[in-house]
């Protein structure tokens, strides 16, 4: 079996190649642009140099040519926004659809989230096998291979996008995927000023801070990139503390893989108390100052 692995970030190379190696005796890695070349994770690495003024997405035609030349049995792509575009173009080229954001894959049966994690589906590709996998859903793996690198020849797209400008995004703090403790705030916070209590607890615990959807899209108190739940972040921290969160399924799919789940809510009937390890019934105005004091 032969695997084609296409990545954007360096961290993904080892993880995706080692996952591919489980099902393939030959692994060909494709690296686009100025991503540092990972050492010895595949049998062969093909590097696509991105012409100045081109976006990642426009490497799709080159990748289609590589796919036709290598004829892999399956393709893994790192699930990023640009590579999702390449995924779609490659799948269209192979007259099929890709299976995206795969959580588990064994014997050609892939599982992924349905309705943002409310359900999980088991899927099987009936045509070409093209999958995207998010780095955060993969364990670390020891990849093996050679340092052989070949330059791929650029296939220019017929209708390229013209890249006018690139600006880095300033992230709003901790990488929540890497935080061991995450505290998360919901509608129980009646006014924006009360968030100060959450910030104080976050600092005390050295935790990351997340929120439910209404706090970012309803009232706009917090940035969208820290929203946890359906279509937002789906985390699996060691400790998760849900504060003023009722426990609707649409939020819980983003945190129910936590090792220990704790909750604070003034409503003793809140559904979250049926889904937590330890719950505290009380008003956040009283609970949080006392808790910060006690920690």
């Amino acid at each position: 079996m032969k695997a084609l692995v296409i990545i954007k970030g360096r961290e993904a190379a080892a993880k995706l190649c080692s996952a591919a190696r489980k099902n393939a005796d030959e692994v060909v890695l494709v690296v686009i642009g100025d991503t540092p070349l990972p050492g010895a994770v595949a049998d062969k690495t093909l590097h696509i140099a991105l012409p100045t003024g081109s976006v990642y997405d426009d490497a799709a035609d080159t990748i289609k040519a590589i796919y036709d030349a290598e004829t892999p049995d399956f393709v893994y792509l790192e699930a990023t926004r640009s590579l999702k575009v390449i995924t779609g173009k490659l799948a269209a080229h192979a007259n099929t659809s890709a299976i995206v954001d795969v959580l588990e894959l064994a014997d050609d049966v892939a599982s992924n989230r349905y309705f943002g994690g409310i359900g999980q589906r088991s899927l099987k590709a009936t045509g070409a096998k093209i999958y995207t996998i998010s780095v955060s859903d993969l364990p670390d793996g020891a990849a093996s291979g050679t340092d052989l690198v070949e330059e791929a020849s650029w296939v220019a797209p017929e209708k390229p996008l013209e890249l006018v400008e690139t600006r880095p995004i300033e992230k709003s703090g901790t990488d929540l995927f890497k935080a061991e403790t995450v505290i998360s705030v919901g509608r129980g916070f009646a006014e924006e000023a009360q968030l100060e209590l959450a910030y104080a607890l976050r600092d005390k615990l050295g935790a990351g801070l997340g929120c439910t959807r209404p706090l970012t899209e309803g009232v706009d108190w917090l940035p969208r990139d820290i929203y946890i739940g359906v279509t937002g972040l789906q985390l699996a921290p060691t400790t998760y503390i849900a504060i003023g969160i009722s426990g609707q399924m649409q939020h819980m799919v983003g945190c129910n893989r936590a090792t220990t789940l704790l909750a604070i809510n003034k409503d003793k009937n809140a559904p979250i108390f049926k889904q937590c390890d330890v719950g505290l019934i009380g008003d956040i105005k009283e609970v949080l100052p006392a808790l910060i004091e006690a920690l």
């Binding site: 926004r81 779609g88 349905y114 309705f115 996008l161 400008e165 129910n256 920690l295």
Partner: protein, 251 residues
């Protein structure tokens, strides 16, 4: 200029329940426009208004998407005309088939300059239909767009990716997909809803049979972790200290 906005009709995820055997129960869930497609409709309506363009809505799906309340809801959001393929042959299609069905539907719309899609549908969230449709139509595609404008037949779009914002330009016609940040959906007023009932909509059956490249073997709620369920009331002695100890023990 003519803009087409594509949307998907899905069961309302707020009302999906988990049955005893772990399967998903949609019986209480109404058919709604997929949440982020409402943002796409709004972004399209705003772009149409600022460019004096007409706006056409389109959707493909099972027969039940031909729902008068749903159609009015879309037409009340700045959409001038609606085209739908409503046929059980179009139920649960994959991205490749959806793109084929949308491309067939587009043949009824004489000309268009821009097709706008949402960031991802509430059910699959595959982020593939925009790209597959562009491939089918041989058009360029710009995904993850948070801001867009058109000048002299050229689209200028700001895309927000994981770690960078890219500003790109491409000549129309093109396909774009917009993220929820592109525009906040309006709340249609009574007047909008009344006038929506008078706008034209064209609903027809599928013109082809579609086969999916993805076979669905199973769908159920993921198994929940067993939780201790120890509940402390703030009025109990040492409640906060016990909760603090539980946090420390967990860390």
């Amino acid at each position: 200029m003519k803009i087409v906005v594509s949307f998907k009709v899905v069961p309302d995820d707020q009302d999906i329940q988990i049955a005893g055997d772990g399967s998903l129960d949609y019986s209480k869930a109404h058919q709604v426009v997929s949440s982020y497609d409402l943002n796409a409709i709004e972004a399209a309506a705003q772009l149409a208004a600022s460019n004096d363009a007409s706006l056409v809505g389109m959707s493909v799906g099972k027969a039940a998407i031909d729902d008068s309340k749903l159609k009015k809801n879309v037409l009340a959001r700045g959409v001038d005309e609606l085209f739908m393929t409503a046929d059980d042959a179009c139920a649960d299609m994959d991205a490749y088939s959806t793109a084929s069905a949308l491309a067939s539907l587009l043949t009824k719309i004489d000309s268009y300059d821009l097709i706008i899609c949402g960031d991802g549908s509430a059910d699959n969230y595959a982020q593939q239909v925009d790209v597959q449709l562009a491939a089918k139509l041989d058009l360029p595609v710009v995904s993850s767009v948070t801001r867009l404008s058109v000048e002299n037949g050229v689209l200028k779009a700001e895309r927000t990716l994981e770690d960078v914002v890219e500003v790109v330009r491409v000549a129309l016609p093109a396909v774009v997909s917009v993220t929820p940040d592109a525009a906040l959906p309006r709340i249609p007023g009574m007047k909008d809803i009344v006038s929506a009932g008078k706008k034209p909509s064209d609903v027809s059956a599928a013109v082809a049979a579609y086969t999916s490249g993805i076979e669905v073997l199973d769908c159920r709620a993921p198994k929940q972790a067993e939780r201790r369920g120890e509940i402390i009331d703030l009025s109990e002695d040492g409640a906060v200290a016990r909760f603090a100890a539980a946090i420390k023990a967990a860390q």
